[in-house]
Amino acid sequence: MVTVQLENIKKSFTEPVLKGLNLSVKSEEFMSLLGPSGCGKTTTLNIICGFLKPDEGNVYVNDVVVNNLAPHKRDIGLVFQNYALFPHMTVKGNLAFGLKLRKVNKKEIEKMVQEAMELIKLEGKEDRYPRELSGGQQQRVALARALIVKPQVLLLDEPLSNLDAKLRREMRIELRRIHKEVATTTIYVTHDQVEALSLSDRVAIMHNGEIEQIGSPTEIYQRPKTDFIADFMGEQNIISGKVASVAEKETVVSVGDLLIHIPDSSLEKGKEVHLAFRKENVRVNKKKLSNVNVFKAQVIYHAFVGKYVQYLLSLDNIRILADVQVDFATQIYKEGDHVFVELRSEDFWVLQ
């Protein structure tokens, strides 16, 4: 069942921001909307909430078109980056705000506030004002305030970006737990791929005012469909070549003098292709251990980054990055060393 659906949404300010965006979020799903700053994520949320009207297209909530419904009638939960807790109300006042508007009786409100306080583990702090809480606590109150009215869908706009790294990690776990408990359909906006990947059931990548790819975190991470996504999901190696031969189970791509074997067989011979592979999949050895996908290389630069060594390597005229896990027994190569680079054929994928 689909809870939120965006159909061909277009929106321009001075220039087009959303250019025909389509997205459907299944019920009880945790969906992340991931994209670089300024790509229109907040605009999308504002359209779902009704703070902005789309120039074209429809917004459905539970299969009802809500385009002309005022925000206060849409039954949506929203958490802002700055939390937006009402400073003139206590925690309890904030939590009760939406309930009072829904004419819930006093006793019921009291009970629901207590439950919410337990959910966010802030029991006993009901009478504090927001300024008397830490950033992480305010964050949780904002979440509880949005959830307490049992909205049909919960929207979060970069909710963790004001927190420090440690708190952010903790809140990610909290968010996951709370989502498991309440099972509210959630759209989570972020420009941090780690957040998106670690929290979501599915991730939608936004680029150029459209959804460029949508899929499970593993799919997005392992097999980004485009250059842009591959680049956005972290530093990857991308090389271009020509399809040299196509066989049943194996395609060979020639990149300069190098011949790369990949499993994809949907390509045509002679076609220009971009191949991508992740830098942590590159293995670096002193000796040549196999015959397929092993290339001679030279170390241009190396840097020791905690648990791994980052190499910049030159294969013929191509430069690639490799992250190699090290322990005390691993040999570390220096600038100028000659090495062999080895990749499995399934580590490559073809970008569109």
Binding site: P71, H72, D75, A84, F86, P87, F97
Partner: protein
Amino acid sequence: MKIKLDLLKWYSLIRFVVTLLPLIIIFLSAFSEASFLSFPPKGFSLKWFVVALTDKSILRSIQTSLLLAAVASMLSLLIGTLASYALVRYRFPGRNIIDSFITAPLTLPMVGLGLGLLFFFSSFLGGLSFINLVFGHVIITLPYVVRNISISLAAVDKSLEQSAMILGAGPITTFYKVTLPLIKPGLISGTLMAFIASFNNTTISLFVASPENLTFPVKIFYFIEFFPDPRMFAISSFVIIASLAIMLALDRIFGLYKIALR
């Protein structure tokens, strides 16, 4: 080095005394026995206080001024709150022009405005009525209200209003439950400043207050023109003390320094 700072301190202290000097004169002269104004005062008596407080025309003028200031500042509060909301929360063509128009009456010479209003009322809008006088004042009190409320409103993040709406509050409930409580300091300081500006305004009233609506400052103006005696200082003492009390209240609530620059 120390001496230089001391010099600065002593100069400033003298400067503060000079600032307060007229007020001291006003208070002391009010106790004079003589029937003309002089300083130092001759003798000591309370007779001018009695004269002032039993002078019906003075009391009536104070009453008029209080009513005028109350109506003008309340109207400004209503009109100014609406206008500030549009000016702060929306971007639209002509916004800057309206914005600078609203503060213009405070920067332009009051005699010019006064003459214009008098001339205008003698041809349109039915002459020098009380209601016209009120609107003549609204023009000079509205800027204080709009400035104060705009500053408060700009400090209220839009996301607070949006949060209220998405939690189920309609536009009016949102304004009432969230925006209004948060801009209350601006509303109070703006309205008090408007009240004082209207109560103290002499020039506009001098032009457009008819004899039935003589305000307190205009009354004082005629005293000075025709028979300056210590009664004027006696009654002014009360008014000054009331103004200082309002100032003190403003300072207590918001810090005078911050709002003085608005």
